[in-house]
Subunit: 367 residues, 2 copies
Amino acid sequence: METSVGQDGQSDGSQRAVTLLDLARAAGVSRTTASNAFNRPDQLSPKLRARVLEIADKLGYAGPNPMARMLRTGRAGSIGVVFGKSLTYGFTDPTSIAFLKGVASVCEKEGASLLILPETGEAQVGNAIQGAAVDGFIIYCMHYLTAVNDAVAARQLPSVAVSAPETMPMSTIDIDDRSAAREAAAHLIGLGHRRFGVLALDVLGDGYDGPLRIDQMAKLECTPSVDRYRGYRDALDAAGLQDIDLRAFEVSGNSEDQARKAAFKLLSRKPRPTAILAMSDRLAVGALMAATDLGLDVPGDLSVVGFDDIPLAKAVTPALTTVHQPLEEKGAAAARLVFHPPKGRPRHVVLPTELVVRNSTGLAPDA
Amino acid sequence: METSVGQDGQSDGSQRAVTLLDLARAAGVSRTTASNAFNRPDQLSPKLRARVLEIADKLGYAGPNPMARMLRTGRAGSIGVVFGKSLTYGFTDPTSIAFLKGVASVCEKEGASLLILPETGEAQVGNAIQGAAVDGFIIYCMHYLTAVNDAVAARQLPSVAVSAPETMPMSTIDIDDRSAAREAAAHLIGLGHRRFGVLALDVLGDGYDGPLRIDQMAKLECTPSVDRYRGYRDALDAAGLQDIDLRAFEVSGNSEDQARKAAFKLLSRKPRPTAILAMSDRLAVGALMAATDLGLDVPGDLSVVGFDDIPLAKAVTPALTTVHQPLEEKGAAAARLVFHPPKGRPRHVVLPTELVVRNSTGLAPDA
DNA sequence: CCCTTCTTCTGGATCGATCAAGAAGAAAGT
DNA sequence: ACTTTCTTCTTGATCGATCCAGAAGAAGGG
């Protein structure tokens, strides 16, 4: 009758953990009653409950084992976020930080935890997703979306993908990147600019820096970079400027320093561009630094328009003209959709954007 | 023998999930063999394994249920972070973001997930901690440390507390706030300053803004604010200036805007302080804004020294003189201690800090 | 006094996996 | 030919809880 417990020996250290059954025995009640003392106070008399809890305390019983409870109830009390890049990047880029903030705020309201999955590379990412004890997933824009999508879909849990094609079988949250970019470019065209440089987000996430690989764009699944580029072109087309040479550089990792170098190259060409279209505010800041390096005045000699409207955008000098997008709300909306999934078909939410004109754009110098 | 399955009816919708047993039956093997196909490829022939996995795919079996696996193996594959403030704050404050980044980078190396617990208030925080399926905890400086500490300790898991007293029964990670602050103040004293204003982090986390509540300081468990204040005083004492009136304002939520207001008040007194000791860089930035509001030149009329050395510190104008502390490394070190707990006694790590002199401090104007 | 209802508590079944021990057959050593 | 070893696979027990149906006793209604 006496179960021997491995090599324990009662010595200070890893003794077997106290379970609900131990507690029940010690209190002279059934497991269910002990369980109810924690979960259903109305199911037993207050006096008994107090006694059970007291004995639990004495035994060092912290409460029902979370893993066992999850298994039995089928709920984890948390949602998972799958990142497309290293977590280090996720906690560095202001865009994803704001997104996480939005997710976190909704989690907090729901009393749920937020599980951030490690980035393990395309081959392994399925394992992490498969093994995550969560009630739903949020997929934050990534480069190998298919692998992630398949793994998440297999879990059959409420899921939302951000900045993903609406052809995916789950709900999506997005902005209209293309028309937002179009508006940014139209603003510059309206100011008389005719020579542009583009600083593009990386297309494949493979650490490449250099001229935009237009030929690779078709491969893409996660497409802000592509959509924004098309938006820029749309504006040119609409203005009858389709023949303009739109020189574009890809910048890896949304890095200010790389953007500075790329912008330096763009601005060293003759004739020099009078405006830079940056696909993110960080890239735009890099362009500002390059302008300083070259002794160019912004917006006198050069106009710069960004994208995102991160907090830094209005803190830099000159304050950035940029496309405001609701970063936090993206996260919040995604989380809400996970907690309260739409019945029937998945929902595809498109959040509004707005061009915010500040001090980094002005009339073209040669206009 | 046929178990009826609730009200399922096979209709499109929530059909019972496929289990390992279903897979085993469909493949004509035992549960264990099916399990091994996923977890121990070496335990069965490659041919059989391929067949099992194929059938799993066909059945839509995503892989072993994470909750069941956790229960059986006793491991969750993730560590939890307990915040002392709302998650919104955690994802806003550059200090905690950097900390999380450090934690995340180590998690990624270990292939583990990062579970961020919701802030539920002092009364409920125990529940969240009790119910978290994790392999260990990191406690990030909070205001009701006792409640958190008790709940975490009850879980009997490897845990690390940040900026917590070494009297706690778990490992701790910290910097020497007191001597770092002392160094910052000594720097100003060396420049001839004799009239100081202090911008203090909130002592109780209750949203209070106003004169520093020195009388409350004894109550504290989580003590950067108190230690830094003491450090400032230490420097004054060492210089024989113990009688100086060290006027201090508490600023709630480490907010730049609130700091600006508080600094405005400090700087409106006659005679005006010539230097401001800020307990964080955000507070210091608030002081810079107040200086601008008052038409004061920094460092000509006013010197400002911050604390933390967040990225913003060197981006603002003038660049902040501040105490550099290894924010990311704090998170990384904490995570490492959770993954590889010290045998025997808990470890108390104190990371080095360094005063970084930039452009926001200069000779006292009246010296 | 009997029947119903409510409160309080209990035991067995179950969630879905992994583990330990061992069986069956093939391969190898003597 | 017989024992040993290795490979491959299986059965029963177990992880620690929650859920369901029902029992025992108290309270209330006619």
